[in-house]
Subunit: 422 residues, 2 copies
């Protein structure tokens, strides 16, 4: 049974398509609005009831069960992209959710009985590229942020998420569905583990921890010519010391710590002016609690030392921590069993990146399924996953979702369900 | 005789005024357009004929001499500012030129005889903040750039100087006046030499040399999470290594080398993406030819080493050199004699910064007069020069200009002229 419909995925990829084969689809941009319209049309065509909540999360409810208050199985990801990002990141998981919902509706029409409803979802601002923080829509859904906090988030031009959503007609008035009995997400791995193992299906059992710092240095504007070096308070020099040191921190624990500064804003950013302010986003990630704590403490110290070396002030440090946590074993077991039932080898692995599934972790049973990324390339226009791997990923998700929807959404009970093949 | 009219300087300062007492008046912005309108009105009121050339340089010709083809004495500076810059930088010199022109016209009406005409000028895009390179308008005037090259310069939003000037109605059709017999410029020192010496008048006798580099690093966009550290090609890490090393180069020659990176543009500049491109402006300045050559060679090496350390490519390096040159002795002697005639102590000193007078150096006899900057603060909203120092600077310029206009613009002959006081 071929379940994937490449036309929906391709239709998403056409929204904000770049010449180099990627997508440039910032959250709540016109391109994101176009992709959301494509999603809504696809959900309606597949027989779902669509809802959009106050922060633009889009839900498509597939009524499968007889009972009006049946539990929910939810599946989804996000349609926003990084600047000049890849077309698979996020969009693949949304396309998978629509196709799983459509397939389950077909099964229902063919006589299948379900004890849970299914819901496909597109979460707002997963990437954290246009608005910060990342995982914003799913964070509101689980109560980590209020809708008002999220809607007040600003992009670099000072536009609020509220106004950006309004501009694309996506500041919805619907209530979000209740927390599901189980949440599943299909995503590209963005690493090389599956490709190197030659395995199409990754069962994520744990997320790496992360400490994320938003640092602002304040120095003093001065003329780059006559101002004596000893009097300069150069906020860019401070940022540069920190960036160099952040790399050195990662190099102390090869393979166990990843670090980066992806974002740096310089003011006034004029060739002849000593910069008076820099704002940067630094992250330290690790797969080991003790190492993460130690590396994060080194980063704390480096933030201060860099300021001293450039005679500037640390104006603010906002520090966000994401703990290393296991994914629920029952969901991992279910995904693994679903892959096995289809004859698809699978591999258990960590996720280094955050995903909406990690955002929901702890609020409901949550599963994250990876398919391979060619060369591990991610957040890049060259991102690619082979069609046969996409097909396998879609099939495994449908298998797991069908079992869940026959088991009132319980991953433990779903393990004992007959598969679609039966 | 009180010659300075604070109302014109204040009127300039009101154009693009910031809450903190500075000005934000990028070249060819609406604020710059407003300041240019103020200048044109002041020139007309003072009896000058106004001209605007193809790159927006504004000239005000004061016809002082009997002969229709009399030589010209020119004086001016610029009205554009750095982002959140000071109100004295540039605007003081333009205000001084208008007041000198107006005073000379009054003297003519009172019966004085002159053998040169006077011209006040506002040069376009001296700062190099909105459009690069700096000294653009004066560079076109002396033939260093063509008007078409200058008009094609782009700001960070991709707007050409041509379109920006058109938007403020300042893409003029007038021919620029011929090269003057002598050019004078009054400017704030932007350093602490005059303040520390307690002297109001600086006679600039030499400019520091500079090597300016526009460097582009190209790496590869990647996800900051899963991408293994060893595979990253981080263009921001390369820029950071270079910025740290640029400071170390200056520190090898205390007081003899100034270095800075004032401008750094990061792409795609998203917290979760390893940067694929950085573009930065690095400058090395020195007062010693040999040291400048050595420090610049170290910078060349540092540009390459930084790329290697971050596994990125040096996509381009544009290298511009400004030689250390003496100002013509006759003009310096004239300024010094003019100050002495007014009883104002003066001091000979270098300029570390570039100015339009340096742009004209070598094309005509050129003089640069400094007044003190409180605390040496420059390119900063807190920039300040005391009113009595401004008054002294204006008086010295009028004295020197009057002598020049009585001596057919020749600084050598002007030295022998009687002063205004005589």
């Amino acid at each position: 049974m071929a379940i994937s419909d490449p036309s929906l995925f391709d239709a998403f990829a056409a929204c904000g398509a770049t010449a180099a084969g990627g997508v440039h689809r910032p959250c709540a941009s016109a391109a994101d609005g176009a992709a959301r319209d494509v999603l809504e049309a696809a959900l309606n065509a597949a027989g779902a009831q669509t809802r959009t909540d106050a922060v633009g999360n889009q839900f498509g409810l597939f009524r499968l069960a007889e009972a009006p208050d049946a539990p929910l199985v939810m599946m989804g990801s996000h349609l926003d992209s990084q600047p000049n990002g890849g077309r698979f990141d996020g969009a693949l998981g949304v396309a998978a959710a629509v196709h799983v919902g459509a397939a389950l509706m077909r099964l229902k029409r063919e006589g299948a009985r379900f004890s849970a409803d299914f819901c496909a979802v597109n979460w707002t601002n997963e990437e954290g590229a246009r608005f910060r923080p990342s995982l914003l829509g799913s964070g509101v859904y689980v109560g980590r942020h209020t809708a008002d906090e999220a809607l007040a988030a600003l992009d670099d031009d000072g536009v609020t998420l509220r106004d950006a959503l309004s501009a694309i007609g996506r500041n919805g008035g619907d209530q979000a569905p209740p927390l599901p009995a189980c949440y599943l997400e299909l995503h590209v791995e963005q690493g090389v583990t599956l490709e190197q193992a030659g395995v199409a299906v990754g069962v994520v059992t744990r997320n790496w921890g992360a400490t994320k710092f938003d640092v602002t240095y304040k120095g003093e504007q001065a003329h780059t010519g006559p101002c004596p070096m000893g009097l300069r308070r150069d906020a860019l020099l401070a940022a540069s010391h920190l960036i160099v040191e952040a790399r050195a921190i990662a190099d102390r624990w090869p393979g166990k710590v990843h670090s980066s500064v992806g974002r740096l804003v310089v003011a006034p950013n004029s060739a002849n002016v000593v910069p008076c302010e820099t704002r940067l986003s630094l992250e330290i990630r690790s797969n080991d609690d003790g190492v993460l704590a130690e590396a994060s403490a080194l980063a704390d110290a480096a933030i201060a030392t860099a300021a001293e070396r450039a005679a500037v002030e640390v104006a603010s440090v906002v520090r966000n921590e994401r703990a290393i946590r296991p994914m629920p074993a029952a969901v991992s077991d279910l995904v693994e069993a679903s892959a096995a039932a289809l004859g698809a080898p699978s591999l258990r692995l960590d996720t280094v990146a955050g995903h909406d599934a990690i955002s929901l972790l702890g609020h409901c049973p949550t599963g994250l399924v990876f398919v391979p990324s060619a060369g591990g390339i991610a957040h890049n226009e060259a991102e690619f996953t082979a069609p046969k791997d996409v097909e396998t990923g879609f099939s495994v998700c449908l298998e797991a979702a069908a079992r869940l929807c026959r088991a009132a959404g319980s991953p433990e009970r779903a393990l004992d369900q007959q598969g679609l093949a039966a």
